[in-house]
């Protein structure tokens, strides 16, 4: 059964918008950082610049949007009461923004105190966010596969944050937790839960609802909606066994477990592309193209992973993880996020303006909220930047143009989203002015 959408529960528009409007700015910063640092940032996944850029993207871009969208989505789709959404957003938004800036600075400047401050900031902000989300999702009477998968995604974020806080504290105290866990083991498990258990699980849960609804495709097959989330969870639990003493070095089973997880992700991408090929309308809007690009990138992640496993000489190359990282972060997750932002913001504008103005002052057409040509132009630049970033992994001399292209794409996105927010503000003021004239006459 699909969960009912409950628009009476929608939080104020300022709650999600503060997250949505901040996120692309950190994409701009990440791109500029790459342009500035040049090839040195792409030496390996352990290069300080690579670590700083990665966290600017995963926390300040991806997590920002995902937190804002979840506050909206859980209230509307799960019909769940979110505890004081405005207060939660007011506390969480600046803290996670600051936390990621601290973390990125800590990697770049190699300052222990910054790691500790970042750990503290994330523990407080995401601890609050996770508590509020978990309470809402556990109490909601709504049922359905999307709700179940959203709960798994929130669990994924919890594990990611706990491990991330342990890692940042370890780096901050300059003590290696060698006696308990090696740093590499902690990082392996942190990355897997962050990308697979949180980000991908959230995309999967949301897609079960929005792909059939917005892209006019048939529903996802029931077997897939059961197999992929549960399978991913099992893979992540097995992968985490390396934290147990004595199991850290068992390479063979770890590789097999990771490959099963990658194959599940690839299967999900292939089924999504197949459903999109069966859609009832031929015309492809920007959101659909972003989703297709993301699913192709996810297939490319799976194919690259298997190729790197099969060819150990290539797989052990210092830049191999960067190839996978570029495909996964800007390729899969940012493509889905940008595509969804272009759908969500016009819709939220329209819905909130309709609620304010009623039938007397109809809101503008949703297609007028962000010009189609601006969205298409930005989308082309996003995919061009993605190709340049991939090329820069192969030929690091391209790091500067790739960084600048990515930065420009994020700046254009910000411009488009600010434009949508301004359309909202203009019509809201118009409705209020009309109401005050009506009340005085």
């Amino acid at each position: 059964m699909q969960p009912a959408l409950s628009f009476e529960q929608a939080p104020p528009i300022s709650v999600p918008y503060r997250f949505f409007l901040t996120a692309p700015l950190f994409g701009v910063v990440a791109g500029l950082l790459l342009a500035l640092l040049g090839p040195a940032a792409l030496e390996s996944r352990w290069a300080p610049g690579a670590l700083a850029m990665t966290h600017l993207i995963v926390v300040d871009f991806m997590l920002q949007v995902m937190c804002g969208a979840l506050l909206q989505f859980v209230a509307v789709v799960a019909g769940a009461n979110i505890w004081r959404p405005r207060l939660v957003a007011t506390l969480v938004h600046p803290l996670i923004t600051a936390g990621a800036v601290l973390l990125a600075s800590a990697f770049l400047l190699e300052q222990q105190v910054l790691f500790l401050l970042a750990a503290l900031t994330f523990a407080v902000s995401l601890g609050l966010f996770l508590t509020v989300m978990a309470m809402s999702l556990l109490r909601t009477p709504a049922r359905g596969m999307s709700i179940y998968v959203l709960r798994l995604a929130v669990l994924g974020l919890l594990v990611t944050v706990v491990l991330g806080v342990i890692l940042a504290s370890t780096l901050g105290m300059h003590e290696n937790l060698q006696s308990v866990w090696s740093l590499l083991t902690l990082i392996n498990v942190h990355v897997a839960w962050g990308l697979g258990g949180w980000a991908l699980m959230l995309v999967i849960g949301v897609s079960f609802l929005v792909v059939p609804m917005f892209q006019l495709t048939p529903a996802y097959p029931v077997w897939l909606t059961r197999l992929v989330p549960a399978g991913l969870l099992l893979v992540l639990c097995l992968w985490s066994l390396q934290l147990l003493p004595g199991l850290a070095g068992a390479q063979a089973w770890q590789s097999a477990v990771a490959s099963v997880g990658i194959l599940l992700a690839g299967l999900y991408a292939a089924v999504t592309l197949w459903l999109q090929s069966k859609r009832r309308r031929r015309q492809a809007d920007v959101t659909l193209v972003f989703w297709r690009g993301a699913m192709l990138a996810l297939l490319a992640v799976a194919a690259s992973w298997l190729a790197l496993e099969a060819l150990p000489q290539l797989g052990s190359h210092a830049r191999a993880p960067l190839w996978l990282g570029v495909l996964a972060l800007p390729g899969v997750f940012l493509s889905v996020i940008i595509g969804m932002l272009y759908k969500i913001m016009p819709f939220l504008n329209w819905l909130h303006l309709q609620r304010l103005g009623g039938m007397a002052t109809p809101p503008p057409n949703m297609k007028q909220m962000i010009p189609e040509s601006a969205m298409r132009g930005q989308m082309r630049l996003h995919f061009a930047a993605l190709l340049l970033l991939l090329a820069a992994v192969l030929w690091p001399a391209l790091a500067t143009p790739a960084g600048l292209a990515f930065s420009a794409s994020c700046l254009w996105l910000e411009w488009n989203l600010v434009g949508a927010a301004r359309v909202y503000a203009r019509f809201r003021d118009k409705i209020r002015a009309a109401a005050s004239v009506a009340s005085t006459s």
Binding site: Q2, A4, L5, S6, F7, E8, M213, F214, Q215, L216, R280, R281, Q283, D285, F347, W350, L351, Q354, R355, G358, M359, P362, N365, M366
Partner: protein, 73 residues
Amino acid sequence: MPEPRVIDGRGMEPPEPLELAVAELGKLAPGEELVMLLHCEPLPLYFVLDRNGYGYRSELRADGTNEIHIHKI
């Protein structure tokens, strides 16, 4: 009884049917009916109808189409 206005939104991408419906609501005369044909439950539309004094009933056809009859209260 006047002929109902019909919006067949089955081949349209959301939120186009919602916008068309809201545009038609303003033209609906008392006693007149607006019929929408959709492949999904238009929950945002129900929200708009509830808030603006319109009544509705929906029927699920055998082919999976939702037929929503809307009238002014």
